[in-house]
Assembly symmetry: C2
Homo-oligomer: 197 residues x 2
């Protein structure tokens, strides 16, 4: 089987690198962390670099910013490049570990502008993240945008708790929904898997 060297590079768009460099090293207030994530989600669609989702990895207690990632599915041709997987993967590269909850690590937190989809929920469990902050959950985002979150375990909140992962939800919910409404008003491509017949 003669094949070209198969390789995939996950990175952030240029505007995100600039925007990251303008942020402070630490963001102590939780609302300010979410506000930064909401801004990245909005910029991602405005700049045409992916879907309306962003996710930030922080040290929970100090607020130290590790990275904010965005959805990269369409521009990178990768259906797994949701914002959460992008952020977790890049944070693991920056910190040089596959386990953000490893021994002697500070507590890491993931801040996202909506609840994770079925895939990203699993990715959160395996990442070592110990705190998940979301602007909201479930049907409102799907009703506005048409994005499908997929089949979540019915007791996903309890699954997080059972695995020692703190959940904080409803932070800046109205601002997040306003972002989704503005996105939906542009009549965008909504990819939910299998566009063919």
């Amino acid at each position: 089987m003669p094949i070209p060297l198969p390789r995939f590079t996950l990175d952030l768009p240029d505007w995100a690198l600039s925007a990251l460099q303008q942020l402070p090293e630490s963001i102590p207030r939780l609302e300010d962390r979410m506000a930064a994530v909401l801004r990245f989600a909005r910029l991602n669609t405005e700049q045409g670099t992916g879907g309306p989702f962003a996710a930030g990895v922080f040290e929970r207690d100090s607020g130290k910013l590790i990275i904010i990632g965005v959805n990269r599915v369409i521009p990178l041709n990768c259906s797994s490049a949701h914002a959460e997987i992008t952020a977790l993967t890049l944070a693991q590269q920056i910190l040089g570990t596959y386990d953000l909850g490893g021994p002697d690590m500070p507590t890491h937190q993931l801040v996202v502008n909506w609840s994770p989809c079925a895939m990203c929920f699993g990715a959160v469990l395996w990442s070592g993240i110990r705190s998940l902050v979301i602007a909201g959950a479930d049907v409102e985002m799907m009703a506005i945008t048409g994005f499908d979150e997929g089949p979540m375990p019915a007791n996903w909140r309890q699954e997080l708790a059972d695995r020692g992962i703190e959940l904080i939800e409803g932070l800046m919910r109205e601002e997040a929904l306003a972002g989704f409404r503005d996105f939906a008003a542009t009549n965008p491509v909504i990819y939910n898997g299998r566009q063919g017949g």
Copy 2:
């Protein structure tokens, strides 16, 4: 926030590139596709390049081989680099699309040496794959190896059917379990998220 350029490269180990080049362009029989996947899973642990999982993307009807990926979590410091996500992502790069089930595409099949974890189950749904072939499912692999598959939706088989994804299970089940037993006998690192306290 001064940061180094965040970037992640997902690729295959050198032995896998060589092994891929020795395979035929097409593998018509399903058992032969699974046999190739089982061999990659075994080689991945023997060569010390990741966990005991492999996944192949094929054109279902012709058997054309697109790529076989392996678990790369520990060597690449990426908790999401399970075999399924590696294979699907590299297949999407090779084919230049985020949707393996897009219009005018042949039907693509994912062949894996066990049932997907919670994360990879979601990844399958978003990938455009229309046929999933697994050697087995549920508790036997976990009991042998200690790997946690995470909280799957209770009706995951029905969720696949509802989304038009064919499921074929139990292919070369005993051979797959033998591979997991041999892996477990080496007292390996089993990563299930959050190694710290």
